[in-house]
Symmetry: C3
């Protein structure tokens, strides 16, 4: 693809030779002939001088930092994402229902149902839905147009998945929430009769699980991105454009506003209200409502084990240390008076 | 279903019009006509006055707090769990072996084996067992009566699953424990020849994994409830009636007593003894034996990131701070003497 | 198997009656007739006197601590691992392609492809590869000789798996890395065009996920052992002979040297360099480069909940406490001068 063809399709301002051939994307430091790279982080600006890329994507303020053919755009990283998609189209898949699939619902002709898939009764699939091998779609599920579901995903009955959503292999949507009543020393299961309702343009990572609601639904908003190994408990609600990194857990009935992020292994307790634009650092346990936007953190600082041993031991005596300091303050005050 | 029919089946004391029609359960705040709700948390007592539910389940002490038809019972939450089950029976499943299943063992006629299931050799299934699509049951596995296993669960050879147990989609039971001997810089695998033995009335969450024992078995007691994304390592033993929330990990050979709970993302080190009635808070790492009942916690307190930066920096100098306080105490003591 | 036959196959020095029959391995404390045990931990040396094992494996220095038939070897634990393998050979599997498998590539005759497996186009399998039921192997994947893949594993297109590797049930290899560019409040997906490249003699646990690289590959070295429920993000590189316990997460582009270990639920931030022989304690979050070998820890110390409440509250005022101590030091200094 020629550079000028990319600009014709994706916009931006072309500077330099538009006829240069672009085959693939690459990092500034490693890209070679036929590759297009990009600059967003000013830290790497010097690499603009040394890169062997055939073209680069830069913002207006870096437009004259290089001589090589370039595309100037307000958001080089998003532009780069689109170029990557343009140069790496998804494999074309035969639109058909594989002979080993078990399908109990009528389907649009544009869908692709791969080997050993099971589609239950009264399932509603949008146009161009792709179900990779081994997926199990429960009765009464609805899946929006252009959604792609990778192998061995399980969607329990009655769940709703939006359009243009991607669900990675091994994810489980709609399993029972963890709800039990205590009776003596025994647990009585509370049937989980809500659903999982997932919006449009969502991505859900490999082996992530999202439980169905107890009474009401578990709701994942539009453009929410969930990484791998995440656990979303029953009746959680996640606002539009939020993103959570790998190994995050969100306990039951907690509500997130819009544009929130949670770093890897962040853990959010149940029944909390997290407002819009809240950012939880990786490894942080959140145990209270967070209604103000901002970044919140709770991580023990890393140390060589031998130093940690000492500081951790003193941490267990911190309340006593504070009392000793208070005592010192009083004594010193008394001494000042008597002097 | 009429309210009096519910009482006839589940017990409790009926006050008010027993002929009212009950179609579904609901929360006090949102329930409407045809729905039954319940009160356990005194915080919500005022809602008894305003709810639009057609009936409620209350304890003796709240019996006269409302005029609407009500069921009085010692444990309204457990009663509510049973009403939910009564009003939401599981879908009836055709008792049959799907033509795409591969079954190498004789089976009772009452079982349901769905599409693409694999049942190995010498497998023993109890009456009414349900295996959803894509489950793989290894050779010599035994599964008790009325157990339900959701799609794409894998049970390795020789494991034992009790009766009335529920295993959610994507769970893996009986994978090899993580056992290696070091030889130079290389690892030598120690074959894991124990089993996983799971009791009756257990529930295991989506994408949870339980490793088989190295020599002896990994044992999950009766009425144990494990949420999603949990990792149980080899030779762990969990006592009856214990419950663990999502993302918990238990390392090898640790033993739990009865009625223990672990909050979400709690992590338990290996080779520990945890007694009866121990409760580990969410996000807490347990690194020592806990023989006394009670609740244990180890969580860094949450703060705005900017405050955390300061406090965490001082935490790395805590041992030095304690030494400085001790020094101050000595000096003050000396000054007192010399005065 | 007679003890002398074991020595003939695995080496070591035999002391005592080599004709004793050995059927299985066992722990010193519980082994009985026909079982062989071992001693490595000096803590258990006394059990050499009381064990009912028919034979033991000991090091040179414990060779005369017992009268029972014994094998003397420099590394009794590794020897024990090999004896366990010898006495517990893996089940022989029919070398064949199950009639329900969907295979779109030519295969060596020595492979075992079980029920409902899907093997894509241009897949290259080595000799003796075993694919258990329900595995889905994407197009252009390569798998080395003698590798065993347990049920319902998914390997995305173009990934490379080495020889003698074991992948446990439910693992996902090659799902998209978590890469999005922000545009306004929306996320633009960055197609992930790298691969996952896994070395020889690797073991990957149940329900573990390893993402494919964004541009370059995610690389798992030789003899790396990953436990269950682990998340490896895009472009991570893990050096040879490293091992990670259950529930570990490694964020994007972090590089590990050789012979590293990470304890259970250890979490490693992105874009870090971890050197050779670094050992991260369980539950520890690593947020900076670790170039020096050694053990590193960051774990809040466990306490009864009531004590934790106090100490944690003071931790949030630690910077203030340190300031108060500094103030005290100044005052005391001033008082000393004025005296």
């Amino acid at each position: 693809m020629r550079l000028e063809q990319i600009v014709a399709q994706l916009g931006g301002r072309l500077i330099g030779d538009g006829s240069v051939e672009i085959l693939q994307v690459g990092a500034l430091s490693s890209a070679g002939r036929g590759q297009i790279s990009f600059l967003t982080n000013p830290k790497y600006r010097a690499q603009l001088k040394t890169t062997h890329a055939s073209a680069v994507i830069v913002s207006e303020k870096n437009a004259s930092d290089t001589e090589i053919p370039r595309i100037v755009h307000a958001n080089p990283y998003a532009y780069y994402a689109r170029v990557t998609a343009l140069l790496n189209p998804p494999p074309t898949r035969a639109q058909r229902v594989h002979e080993t699939a078990v399908v109990l619902s009528p389907l649009p002709v544009s869908v692709t149902i791969d080997a050993h898939v099971v589609v239950g009764r009264r399932v509603c699939l949008g146009e161009n839905v792709v179900l990779y091998p081994g997926c199990v779609i429960g009765d009464d599920v609805s899946i929006g147009a252009d959604t792609v579901i990778y192998p061995n995903v399980v969607i329990y009955p009655r769940c709703v998945i939006g359009a243009r959503t991607i669900i990675h292999a091994g994810a489980v949507i709609g399993s029972d929430g963890f709800g039990f009543a205590k009776e003596g020393e025994c647990w009585v299961k509370i049937p989980q009769i809500g659903r999982v309702v997932i919006g449009d343009d969502v991505e859900i990572g490999a082996n992530t699980s999202i439980d169905r609601g107890a009474l009401d639904d578990t709701v994942i908003g539009n453009d929410v991105k969930l990484d791998n190994q995440i656990q979303i408990a029953h009746n959680v609600r996640i606002g539009d454009h939020s993103a959570m990194a790998g190994c995050v857990g969100v306990a039951g009935s907690t509500t997130f506003g819009k544009r929130c992020t949670v770093g890897g292994a962040g853990m959010i307790s149940g029944h909390l209200e997290i407002g819009d634009d809240v950012h939880v650092s990786g490894g942080t346990l959140v145990g209270k409502n967070l209604k103000q936007p901002g970044q919140y953190t709770a991580v023990f600082p890393l140390e060589p084990h031998i130093d940690w041993l000492q500081n951790a031991a003193h941490l267990k005596r911190l309340a006593k240390l504070a009392a000793r300091v208070e005592e010192l303050e009083k004594k010193l005050e008394d001494m000042s008076k008597t002097q």
